[in-house]
């Protein structure tokens, strides 16, 4: 069995029949074997739907178009049975809220053992032993005893660890994580992110991390894609995007983060994200963009390569220097 596979998302479009509007529009990206890729955007940007589309976990009334290639197969062309066999085994997912992701009436050890039995072909006893091993791997002390406890007996961070143990139990090659630490306190968040990062490197897994927080993605991901109104507006290596963002929205997101400096005003993005039903034909960000001209909304704007491997969807890129000047943190990140 090939352990290492690349994910290729090609012109993914998700449409809701009722609204008749696409909420994910022509999104394309690839994740190399063992690579960590982050999707950043605000609520409603389509980042979570993009992530869920890979497992074909779609809300009612949604239709998917495009291609999602994994392991040499187009996931969108698989039968429901074939898809179900992939879920949890080759591709697993970690959700934001571990309490709703864990079965409240099962002992956590049994929840994990179920995954192992379903995908690994192990017997009940062997699955239980493996479940305890998994709990130890995600840093739960005294795992043998704690396996008999129920989800409500754990703290938020510990629950997320158990949820991660469950996701990794069948040794997936691709892990999808949708805001895995958003509900957690600062210190616990850093611990869970570190755990995800360590496990990913040990197993050589690929990771797709979805977050509204650029900082979370910066800590974990080799490459990053920024989504706005259902579209990718910038893609590149995390390092290059942070050092020299090439889209006004990306700069705005970075500028929105509070600095340590007192008395300096935050350069907030004015207005709010658009209604997916009321998008202009060109750049969806134009109504909030200080650089926008008539040409920005006249026709669709293609991705252009700024430097090798760093793409952005903006025709006013030569005007960005003034906006970038506010980025204090990037200067500080030199070390």
């Amino acid at each position: 069995m090939a352990r290492k596979e690349a994910l290729e998302v090609d012109r993914l479009t998700v449409t809701f029949a009722r609204e008749g509007r696409a909420v994910v529009r022509n999104v394309s990206f690839t994740i190399a074997p063992g690579e960590a890729f982050g999707l950043v955007g605000e609520s409603g940007s389509g980042k979570s739907l993009t992530c869920r589309a890979i497992l074909r976990l779609m809300p009612r009334g949604a239709s998917i178009a495009g291609r999602i290639m994994y392991g040499g197969r187009d996931l969108l062309g698989l039968s429901d049975g074939e898809m179900q066999a992939l879920r949890g085994s080759s591709i697993a997912m970690v959700f934001q809220d571990p309490l709703t992701a864990l079965n409240p009436v099962l002992r956590v050890g049994d929840s994990i053992a179920q995954v192992i039995q379903a995908h690994g072909g192990l017997g009940r006893r062997a699955a239980r032993t493996r479940a305890v091993e998994m709990m130890e791997r995600v840093g739960i002390r005294d795992a043998g005893r704690r396996a008999a406890a129920y989800p409500h007996e754990f703290s938020g961070g510990m629950r997320q660890r158990i949820h991660i143990a469950m996701a990794l139990a069948a040794r997936p090659t691709l892990l999808l994580a949708d805001e895995p630490t958003t509900a957690l306190d600062v210190v616990v968040q850093a611990e869970i992110l570190r755990l995800l990062d360590d496990l990913r490197r040990q197993d050589g897994m690929s990771l797709l991390l979805v977050s509204h927080d650029f900082r979370v993605v910066a800590g974990l991901c080799d490459r990053v894609g920024v989504m706005y109104a259902g579209e990718l507006v910038e893609v590149g290596a995390t390092q290059t995007v942070l050092r020299r963002p090439e889209h006004p929205y990306t700069i705005g997101l970075m500028n929105s983060l509070p600095e340590a400096v007192l008395g300096e005003r935050l350069r907030a993005i004015p207005g709010s994200p658009p209604d997916p039903g009321l998008l202009p034909p060109g750049c969806a960000f134009a109504p909030r963009c200080e650089l926008a001209r008539d040409s920005c909304t006249a026709a669709p704007i293609a991705m252009a390569e700024a430097v090798r491997g760093h793409w952005a969807r903006c025709i006013r890129r030569d005007q960005l220097d003034e906006m970038r000047r506010g980025l204090v943190m990037v200067g500080a990140a030199g070390a």
Binding site: E42, S43, G139, R141, S155, G157, M158, R161, D185, V186, V187, V188, Q189, A190, E191, L193, R194, D197, H212, D213, F214, R215, V216, A218, G219, L220, T238, Q239, L242, G252, L253, M254, N255, S256, L257, P258, E259, A260, L262, R265, L266, R267, A268, I269, P270, S272, P273, M329, V330, A332, A333
Partner: protein, 324 residues
């Protein structure tokens, strides 16, 4: 001093449950208070930030300061008057003077009231302007928080999260408060909207000379609004950072951990974060220093004595046995 809190303590007692045996198991042993011996003083026009994780007691402190909850012991003095000793009617009158903006703008607005009536209600309940001038005042309030005048006839459901938080701020301002307490007002909002609301609060503070208590779990968000910061852990104020002291000069081991664990806009910051041990000891110890189970410097004295808050000079105070 405008608002002074002295030695506030609040313990939530788990009574025996409704069903046999469902009372909390901890009820017999010593229970650590949700808020212990917290003192704070706010000058007119000043802003104080309160930072801490969930369970640190920061919301309990906010609720006690606004007298939404009565502290078990301690006093809350508003211009020298002890609010904890007021009767119901007098308290209601004083309540107008301390207003709170909560984290969740969805659950803190009545879905059946238009924005105009939600604000108008505050004005008429407190008899703040003559009846015929209510519409004009409502319009001014909406303008102050950056909402259009046509918002008056709309319902909360017509607005996004950020706009709802603006409505909540307008409603708090309607009461003409002397102190505004903002309890995690941006935590439920997207990053770009957070920045808008933070700017709004910073502007209002200057423009209306508001005195403010600003609560958040994010040190840098807090410092953006408030020059002075109180760090809470396990129901205690463990460090006070006065205006001149940069965050990086924090001395309490918990504040240091908060800084070390903070996510940053730098590639690969995660790899440079040291050991944190936040979860290995989830339960708070019942005695001694509340942070000792997670503290790299913990020793015998930390088990026995809960360290008092000690001034290091210049208003920088730390509650730790190991800070010289």
């Amino acid at each position: 001093m405008l608002l002074v809190a002295e030695h506030l303590t609040r313990t939530y007692v788990h009574r025996r449950g409704w069903l046999q045996g469902t009372g909390a198991p901890g009820a017999r042993g010593p229970v650590r208070p949700a808020l212990a011996d917290a003192s704070l003083s706010l000058e007119r026009g000043e802003a104080i930030g309160v930072v801490g994780e969930s369970g640190s007691g920061k919301s309990t402190l906010a609720r006690c300061l606004a007298l939404l909850e009565r502290p078990d012991t301690g006093r809350v003095l508003l211009e020298g008057v002890d609010l904890t000793r007021l009767g119901r009617r007098e308290l209601r009158r004083s309540r107008r003077r301390i207003q709170v903006v909560f984290q969740d703008p969805y659950s803190s607005l009545n879905p059946r009231l238009t924005v105009g009536s939600a604000l108008g209600e505050v004005l008429s309940v407190h008899d703040l302007v003559p009846r015929d001038q209510i519409p004009r005042r409502v319009e001014t309030l909406l303008d102050q928080v950056g909402l259009p005048a046509r918002a008056v006839g709309r319902y909360p459901s017509d607005f996004s999260g950020g706009q709802r938080q603006r409505i909540c701020i307008a409603r708090a301002l309607a009461a003409n408060p002397e102190v505004l307490i903002a309890d995690e007002p941006v935590s439920a909002l997207d990053v770009s909207i957070q920045a808008q609301i933070l700017n709004l609060l910073a502007d209002l503070r200057v423009r209306l000379r508001l005195s403010m208590i600003f609560i958040s779990h994010d040190l840098y968000v807090v410092r953006y609004i408030a020059p002075k910061i109180a760090v809470m852990f396990g129901g205690r104020i463990v460090e006070v950072l006065p205006p001149g002291v940069p965050l990086e000069q924090a001395r309490h081991p918990y504040t240091e951990a908060l800084l070390a664990a903070r996510s940053r806009l730098e590639p690969g910051w995660l790899a440079r974060t040291g050991q944190l041990n936040a979860e290995l000891a989830a339960a708070l110890p019942a005695t001694g220093c509340p942070f000792r189970a997670r503290c790299p410097h913990a020793s015998g004295v930390c088990e026995e004595i809960d360290p008092p808050l000690r001034d290091l000079g210049g208003g920088h105070a730390v509650a730790c046995h190991h800070v010289p």
